[in-house]
Amino acid sequence: MAEDDLTSSANTHGTQVAQRQYEHNGQGELTTAIIYAIAEADGVSLSEVKSPPLYDSVDVPAIEKAFFGPNGAGDSRQGVGTVEFQYSDYLVKVQSDGWIRVYEPTEADHS
């Protein structure tokens, strides 16, 4: 596969088309942050991202709890890792540091 030097992480994930950082203690929900990133990838407004609901694709509250949820002492669990899921034609990656990245499949991925 040819190296794509435009995006640092363009490899098996395809081409990154949008990214957004979710701040757990900021305003707003992880679900909405993911939809913001997908809307940006699509070039549409937030409310134009429709069908299927993200709820049908991935368990967002579970990601929220695993990465950012409180432990028994009330501190963050600080889970480390990445969850990837498919939404429409996109691959979405949510990292435990809050970065949400949206990838479009490259030509090579269709083979």
């Binding site: 929900e29 679900t31 942050a33 937030l46 409310s47 429709k50 609901p53």
Partner: protein
């Protein structure tokens, strides 16, 4: 269970009958899902609106909830505020409530309607002292930040 209702299921609860005089529905929700439904402030807000009316357009709901959360009159809710709540309802909270049988969602008209478990959840909501007086949920915004996304 025999005879699952199809997708355009009709509302079985009679809004005019008081909960006291009704026999409990056969398939009542267990307690845990009831509290899960009510665990998120936006879902509670949505349930408050069902006390007021049994049918809402998603846009009207988003406007109303955004007004509550930002503590501003409905007519001053900005497009960004409305869209943010709308996306959250559409992609997270509405499907969750549909899953639990509290509401139905018509995708074509983007209208929500109370479903078979609405009475039980609204009764629980009233039982824990909630009311349409949003004073009680003043801190919903910060509350929400600490909870699930």
């Amino acid at each position: 269970m025999a005879g699952e209702p199809d997708s355009d299921e009709v509302v079985t609860s009679d809004a005019s009958a008081s909960p006291e005089t009704q026999l409990p529905p056969l398939d009542i929700l267990e307690i845990e899902p009831v509290y899960e439904v009510l665990a998120h402030s936006r879902r509670r807000y949505l349930c408050y609106t069902l006390l007021e009316d049994t049918e809402w357009s998603l846009t009207d709901l988003a406007t109303k909830i955004a007004a509550w959360e930002n503590d501003v009159p409905e007519h001053t809710v900005t497009e960004d505020q409305r869209e943010e709540v709308y996306a959250s309802l559409y992609h997270a909270h509405v499907p969750k409530l549909v899953d639990e049988g509290v509401i139905t969602f018509d995708e074509a008209t983007e209208t929500i309607t109370t479903a078979r478990h609405a009475d039980q959840v609204l009764t629980a909501l009233k039982g824990i002292g909630a009311s349409l007086d949003s004073e009680q949920e003043t801190h919903a915004q910060s509350d929400m930040d600490e909870q699930e996304g």
